[in-house]
């Protein structure tokens, strides 16, 4: 193992010995994981296993009690979510953090609106055009970039949320149960979009309760149980039975 080959294959995200306690409650214990660009890793585990907590640690919402986070090889410590965001980490939440009464393009640029010089007026046309180009590229089928979120289906909304993450993420996208609220056809569409993100050289960490989905999408599967990291498996080299017994602890 030379130092040289180490840097070439250097992962986008390295978590080492992450530990998180809320008061006396230990939510994450000694968690370590590497994520490479163009790779989809699934995070699975029962309710309360600590999956969302882990995503919040990576995205800067919670600070780990101990442990190190490296982004492109550099140790980082985010004091809030906007710091993680400006480092190229985006999150897609299961409960759709979208403003319902706003058009798609304003949601895509929410908090990071484009303005024109010299008066700082919103550049709606540019935002609309960029949004349209992106949703076309990702094949998110919405009526238009100007459509109001409220008028979209659940699948279309999640498509918008993923498009937003894709637009801003330079390194890593975290998805917390992105299809939990969706029907079968909508889920298939969202999976297709997530799959297409690999080609953009982003690292992707996805939480899912559907093992079918996990096996369709992921390159590796990481199992958590009550805050403990049970193991990481290559998706191609494992099966549902093994993953289920890792999740439940029953052989």
């Amino acid at each position: 193992m030379s130092a040289n080959s180490e840097t070439i294959t250097s992962p986008v995200l390295e978590l080492k010995n992450i530990h998180k306690a809320f008061g006396g409650v230990v939510a994450i214990q000694d968690f370590s994981l590497d994520l490479k660009a163009g790779e989809i890793v699934a995070l699975v585990g029962d309710n309360g296993a600590g999956k969302s907590t882990l995503i919040k640690i990576i995205s800067g919402v919670h600070a780990p009690t101990s442990g190190t986070i490296r982004l492109d090889g550099e140790a980082v410590s985010f004091s809030d979510a906007s710091m993680a965001r400006s480092s190229g980490i985006e999150v897609v939440y299961q409960d759709l953090a979208l403003a319902d009464l706003q058009p798609v393009y304003m949601n895509l640029f929410l908090g990071r609106e484009k303005v024109r010089k010299p008066f700082g007026m919103l550049d709606r046309r540019a935002m609309m055009q960029e949004t349209q180009a992106l949703v076309d590229e990702l094949d998110v089928r919405i009526p238009s970039a100007n459509a109001m979120i409220r008028d979209l289906s659940g699948g279309q909304r999640q498509g918008v949320a993923i498009a937003r993450a894709t637009h801003w993420a330079t390194k890593l996208i975290l998805l917390d149960e992105p299809t939990a609220a969706l029907g079968v056809a909508e889920t298939a569409k969202v999976e297709e979009i997530v799959q297409s993100l690999k080609a953009r050289n982003l690292a992707i960490l996805i939480i899912s309760h559907s093992l079918d989905q996990v096996f369709r999408l992921s390159d590796r599967i990481c199992v958590l149980r009550r805050g403990n990291q049970i193991g990481v498996r290559e998706t191609a080299k494992t099966d549902k039975n093994e993953i289920v017994s890792m999740i439940t602890g029953l052989a």
């Binding site: 979510a81 906007s82 965001r85 999150v91 939440y93 953090a97 979208l98 403003a99 319902d100 009464l101 706003q102 304003m106 949601n107 929410l110 908090g111 990071r112 609106e113 303005v115 700082g120 007026m121 919103l122």
Partner: protein
């Protein structure tokens, strides 16, 4: 054709079109029934515009507050405190200090509201209900219920009876407030953040918008607008009294709601608030010209506001 009008409607934010139809309907009703009572005279119509100037400016501040998902009930009391502060300071000092005192009082009370709402996470309804009472009391005690005359001609001209290039200064203040308010609301990042916060505060938060700071800002905008409204009252009446702004609460809230601003945030219109405010002013004026007693005026006005608000809420929630 339809596309074109809806593009125009979007550009100017004419969301609830009901308000514009209602405005025209009530105007025509008064124009016909009060033809002999002087409703249509230039003098009367310009009076309506001049009288509504303070309410319009309060309404613009309220558009920002409601759009952000908060409410301000204290602006009427702020009007009185600001007007009195300006008048009292001007008894001893120059006009400039009077203006600063009036606006400063408004901003300061807005800041107090804002800190409690944004950082102590107290509901704005309760906070501003309390400060409404508190500062109404302050206004009463400031001068022992006495009215304070405003003698500076420059001040009364600038904020009240004067005019520039033949346009009454109250009209210019109204226009300036509407234009600036509309541009900030519709065309700036701040305005977009206000609307997004009222729509979904969590989405705004996770998108990096500093939600607490924004809540503080909208309540200070409302306080500042109420402060300016206080100066306009003091300028027009050439005096300040604790009763100023007392009766504006219902009118201004109705004007804003009727003008297409959602009571629970995420949607609003400054232009709509202007039209709503003119509608309320016209209503006041028409009912007086009809010869209704004050109690009858209150009853009829209340009923019409109830109807107007009901119609425009249906309109905005369906749109």
């Amino acid at each position: 054709m339809f596309k074109r009008t809806s593009a125009i409607a979007r550009k100017f934010d004419l969301q609830g079109s009901v308000i514009y139809l209602g405005f025209i309907a009530i105007f025509l009703f008064f124009a016909i029934t009060l033809a002999d009572d002087g409703f249509l005279t230039t003098r009367n119509l310009s009076n309506i515009v001049l009288q509504t100037a303070p309410a319009t400016i309060m309404a613009i501040g309220l558009v920002f507050v409601l759009s952000a998902g908060e409410i301000d009930l204290s602006f009427g009391s702020i009007v009185a405190v600001s007007a009195l502060a300006a008048a009292v300071v001007m008894q001893e000092h120059s006009m400039l200090f009077g203006i600063l005192a009036g606006l400063g009082a408004g901003l300061a009370i807005g800041w107090i509201n804002g800190v409690m709402v944004a950082y102590l996470r107290l509901p704005s309804f309760l906070v501003t209900l309390a400060t409404m009472g508190l500062f109404a009391g302050v206004a009463r005690s400031m001068t022992d219920l006495r009215s304070i005359p405003v003698l500076s001609d420059t001040f009364t001209g600038f904020f009240g009876s004067g005019s520039f290039f033949g346009i009454p200064s109250l009209v210019l203040w109204t226009l300036a407030a509407v234009i600036v308010g509309h541009l900030v609301y519709r065309e700036s990042r701040f305005g977009a953040h206000v609307i997004a916060t009222g729509d979904n505060a969590r989405a705004a938060q996770v998108s990096g918008i500093k939600v607490p700071r924004l809540r503080l800002a909208v309540l200070m905008i409302s306080g500042g607008c109420a402060g300016l409204a206080g100066l306009l009252y003091a300028g027009r009446l050439q005096a300040a009294k604790y009763t100023l702004g007392e009766s504006d609460l219902m009118t201004v809230i109705a004007a804003v709601i009727v003008g297409g601003t959602a009571l629970n945030g995420g949607k609003g219109s400054v232009i709509g608030a202007l039209v709503g405010s003119l509608l309320m002013g016209m209503l006041n004026n028409g009912l007086i010209l009809m010869g209704l007693s004050v109690s009858d005026q209150m009853i009829v006005r209340g009923l019409i506001i109830l109807l107007a608000v009901a119609i425009s809420l249906r309109d905005t929630t369906r749109a």
